[in-house]
């Protein structure tokens, strides 16, 4: 970056501009394990500072990469072409929670779990629950359209974003959407921005829908011989006309890698587990929990356990949430894909993955949100064996082709970022890519915002 640009940023931010190597290293990574050094880090506290930053970026032509907590799995917050990392972590106020109209107004740096907790205190519920909810930010969740465990019943981040305030790539501050339940005036710019991975605008404020907090919940752990059996149980549950608030699948390896942290006694032959949760009014929860137990047993569950209290529920959830980072124990590098297939094709997908693992001689760990067909496929490799890495990369291609062939999508909730950019066209087609690029040009004509993401950028993919 040129010294003029840096000095202008210095005038804007004072000591909230950091350019030391040490400060930059701390913003060079996210949860992908890849690293790209930015030229500078800024910590804005107002939308105006964000706007000024983007105006300067247009003037001096440097990239601006918005970053929440840097917990993404697709590289969305990595400064692949250098420039400025704009950290929203100091814009972390919950501006208001409206208990009459049921919405919250938040700044982007609010941690998702914090909003959930504050809403809960008022008897309200912000459902989206990515596994990282205790540390990822709402701004990041909106940019990536984060999903989570309860999507099967409650939907994903986009279903709760009513309106946004965002700085576009031009440096203009735009307000989109509504603060009401309905609203159809003009194009849906809100949805356009949600999931745009910081390439169209930087969210500076969001109006988020809240719903009444469910009265009760019950959590069960059902153990099966294998993933196919688990998948069949999932479909049987849906057929029984129950919609659990979570249906999480974990294969045996996934469970084993968190055993060190929290031991779970497993009966012999356990090859897969379903973590199930139902919520709602007390009596209904009881009935549905009993029904889930019955259905699982009828579909080959070796054992069904029910958490007896809040502590037990927390433990089961902690088990689930610890899997993803815990995989690090198995191998240094994971290729982490979050494909979605129609629920009825889950069992076939699991068979395909088992076969793929054998054929390619790769260790593949699967877990994830079976209830909505969203499966985290983790190919674990050493990173030091070139042949293994090549086999793994080819396997990823195979998984994606199979997914699209089954009528699914190659990313349910992590986003494209740099990890899936090479496969964008495989799913949306050349016209889809072309239209997306045209839209990008409308929002960010100079390519300031988060360059190198979504669309293929060879330099970025290599890392």
């Amino acid at each position: 970056m040129n010294p003029e640009a840096l000095s202008a940023l210095g005038n804007l931010y004072g000591d909230r501009l950091r350019t030391s190597l040490e400060a930059r290293i701390c913003y060079s990574f996210d949860a992908t394990g890849k690293q790209f050094l930015p030229d500078a880090v800024v910590y804005p506290v107002t939308a105006e500072e964000v706007r000024q930053t983007v105006l300067l970026a247009n003037l001096h032509r440097f990239p601006v990469v918005p970053r929440g907590a840097g917990t993404g799995f697709s590289g969305g917050s990595l400064p692949v072409r250098g420039g400025v990392v704009l950290s929203t972590e100091r814009m972390d106020r919950i501006v208001s929670i409206d208990t009459e109209n049921l919405y919250a107004v938040v700044e982007p740096g609010v941690v998702t779990g914090t909003l959930k907790e504050e809403a809960r205190k008022k008897g309200l519920f912000y459902p989206p629950d990515p596994a990282s909810l205790k540390f990822s930010t709402l701004g990041g969740n909106i940019a990536e359209c984060a999903g989570g465990m309860c999507a099967v019943k409650y939907g994903v981040t986009r279903d709760y974003v009513l309106g946004l305030e965002a700085v576009l790539g031009t440096g203009e501050l735009v307000r989109t959407g509504v603060a009401t339940a309905k609203g159809v005036v003009g194009y849906d710019l809100t949805r356009m921005l949600v999931g745009s991975e910081g390439t169209l605008g930087i969210v500076t404020r969001a109006t988020l829908r809240l719903i009444p907090l469910p009265e009760a919940a019950a959590t069960l752990l059902a153990l099966f011989h294998g993933n196919r059996r688990s998948a069949e149980a999932v479909n049987a549950i849906v057929a029984a006309r129950v919609t659990p608030s979570a249906m999480e699948l974990m294969d045996r390896t996934a469970i084993d890698c968190v055993q060190a942290l929290m031991p779970v006694a497993l009966p012999e032959g356990t090859g897969s587990a379903l973590l199930l949760e139902v919520d709602g009014p007390e009596g209904q929860v009881e009935r549905e929990a009993d029904l889930l137990t019955e259905v699982c047993r009828a579909h080959g569950a070796i054992e069904v356990r029910r958490a007896s209290d809040a502590r037990g529920r927390d433990d089961l959830w902690k088990l689930r949430r610890s899997i993803s980072p815990g995989l690090r124990r198995l191998a240094p590098v994971k290729l982490n894909e979050d494909i979605v297939v129609p629920r009825s094709r889950l069992a076939d997908m699991f068979d395909f993955l088992a076969d793929l693992s054998d054929r390619r001689k790769l260790r593949i760990v699967t877990f994830g949100h079976a209830g909505d067909g969203n499966i985290h496929v983790n190919i674990m490799i050493s990173g030091a064996d070139a042949d293994e890495t090549r086999r793994a990369e080819e396997a990823v291609g195979e998984v994606f082709r199979k997914t699209v062939e089954m009528g699914g999508t190659i990313s349910g909730e992590h986003g494209v970022g740099i990890s899936k950019a090479p496969f964008l066209e495989m799913e949306v087609g050349p016209l889809g890519v072309a239209v997306m690029k045209r839209l990008k040009g409308c929002f960010d004509p100079n390519g300031i915002l988060n360059p190198g993401k979504i669309f293929l950028d060879e330099a970025a993919v290599r890392g």
Binding site: L21, I25, F29, G33, T71, S87, V111, S324, R328
Partner: protein, 422 residues
């Protein structure tokens, strides 16, 4: 930094960000460099030969309370405390001790007599320490030259320390060894006394470890591996020679040193390793010792209905967190003061002391500490009890800053009161 051990430790970090949720310092700094994964990224970069500013890395590693919350929350059980301490030590060897710490360093703290001289000199000088400590000691890290500014309440040092108050030949040998620690000997000798009397009430013969060196933790967290090792070796060899059945620690941080940290100074394969294991196996926190003895059975019934719920317990990070000894102190308190004890609001919030952290960045340390005691007081607590010397020092200072009626004591003082109540 070319430390192979360090590489193995940092390699487990997946940069997931869980550490951001629990870090005591993060809410103050709101920057990645404050949290474990940021520090680990810096160490990794330094190890891979990134041409950075070693002093800046050192500064970043120093900016940590070592409260261990990240380590306990980490899904991969990355040993953050060890990484940070190793990093500090490696850098200290490469580029020296940070300038602000340099004044505190130099001499090895292997002599109880040296600490004694220091305390006396300070007490006689009527002001705390400045220029008065001729030889380094554990206290030297806590009260360096120039200490006492910035609105700090500094404890008035008593004329006579606990060890000095013992009669000649008193508590010279016994099956139970009491490791009092610098602070409970010199700064708050009444705690040393209370611990001694109550441990003695177990009916076992009690020896007080008179020729104790500083436990070594202050040196270790400062990156002074040589001094820390030298303290650890001196203590371990003397304790091994004394051959006690149990070694009781009223201070959680001293205990951590002998239970866990000692093994990175005296690792497996070194000549003194077996002795260190001997000591670690016998080292026990004050509350656990009481529970394993008959002391508590001798307590009279606590007066009913008096000061109900007014006494709380503060969880020292090292004792309750790292060593998992939280329930024991609560059990002791329930038996000693009955319904006066109640779970305190924010019991497990860090007090913000962080040993040398408090010296280095008093304003931040004080903000964290003031919040700690304010949360407790708002919850109805009128007296905070705990079991670590650093926490007592810090919370007494914080109480003085926020609510002078709030009292801070060691649990031994409450047990002593109950046991010898007239």
């Amino acid at each position: 930094m070319r430390d192979a051990d360090l590489k193995a430790l940092t390699g487990l970090c997946a940069k997931c960000g869980t550490c951001r949720t629990v870090c005591t310092l993060y809410p103050e700094r709101k920057a990645e460099i404050a949290v474990a994964r940021g520090k680990i990224a810096l160490i990794e970069a330094a190890m891979s030969g990134e041409d950075g500013d070693a002093e800046a890395v050192q500064e970043a590693l120093t900016d940590c309370l070592l409260c261990g919350r990240c380590e306990r929350a980490c899904p991969n059980q990355v040993l953050v405390e060890e990484i940070v301490m190793k990093g500090r030590a490696d850098l200290a060897e490469e580029i020296g001790i940070p300038a602000w710490k340099r004044v505190l360093f130099g001499k090895v703290m292997t002599s109880a007599a040296a600490t004694e001289i220091a305390r006396k000199a300070a007490a006689a000088g009527q002001r705390l320490l400045p220029g008065k400590i001729p030889t380094a000691s554990g206290l030297h890290y806590r009260f360096p030259d120039g200490f006492g500014g910035g609105g700090r309440t500094v404890p008035k040092l008593p004329a006579i320390g606990f060890l000095e108050s013992l009669g000649k030949g008193e508590a010279a040998a016994g099956e139970v060894m009491l490791f009092v620690g610098c602070v409970f000997d010199h700064v708050f000798p009444e705690v040393g006394r209370a611990a001694y009397e109550t441990v003695k009430a177990s009916g076992k013969s009690v020896a007080v470890f008179r020729d104790a060196a500083c436990c070594g933790l202050p040196a270790m967290v400062s990156g002074d591996r040589r001094s820390a090792t030298s303290s650890a070796e001196a203590n371990v060899s003397r304790l091994r020679a004394a051959d006690p059945g149990a070694i009781v620690f009223p201070c959680g941080s001293c205990l951590l040193m002998f239970k866990r940290n000692v093994f990175s100074l005296i690792p497996k394969g070194t000549p003194m390793y077996d002795d260190a294991v001997f000591v670690a196996d016998r080292a026990v926190d004050y509350a656990s010792f009481l529970l394993s003895s008959s002391v508590l059975d001798r307590l009279p019934d606590p007066p009913p209905g008096k000061r109900v719920g007014e006494i709380g317990y503060h969880d020292p990070c090292h004792l309750s967190g790292t060593l998992g000894k939280g329930p024991e102190a609560r059990e002791v308190l329930s038996r000693a003061v009955g319904p006066a004890f109640a779970e305190m609001a924010g019991a497990d919030l860090c007090c913000g002391y962080g040993g040398t952290f408090n010296v280095r960045d008093y304003p931040t340390s004080a903000r964290i500490g003031e919040n700690k005691v304010t949360v407790a007081a708002r919850g109805g607590t009128k007296m905070i009890s705990t079991a670590c010397s650093g926490c007592v020092l810090q919370m007494r200072d914080m109480a003085a800053r926020t609510d002078p009626s709030l009292r801070v004591v060691h649990i031994a003082e409450l047990v002593h009161q109950a046991l010898f109540r007239k």
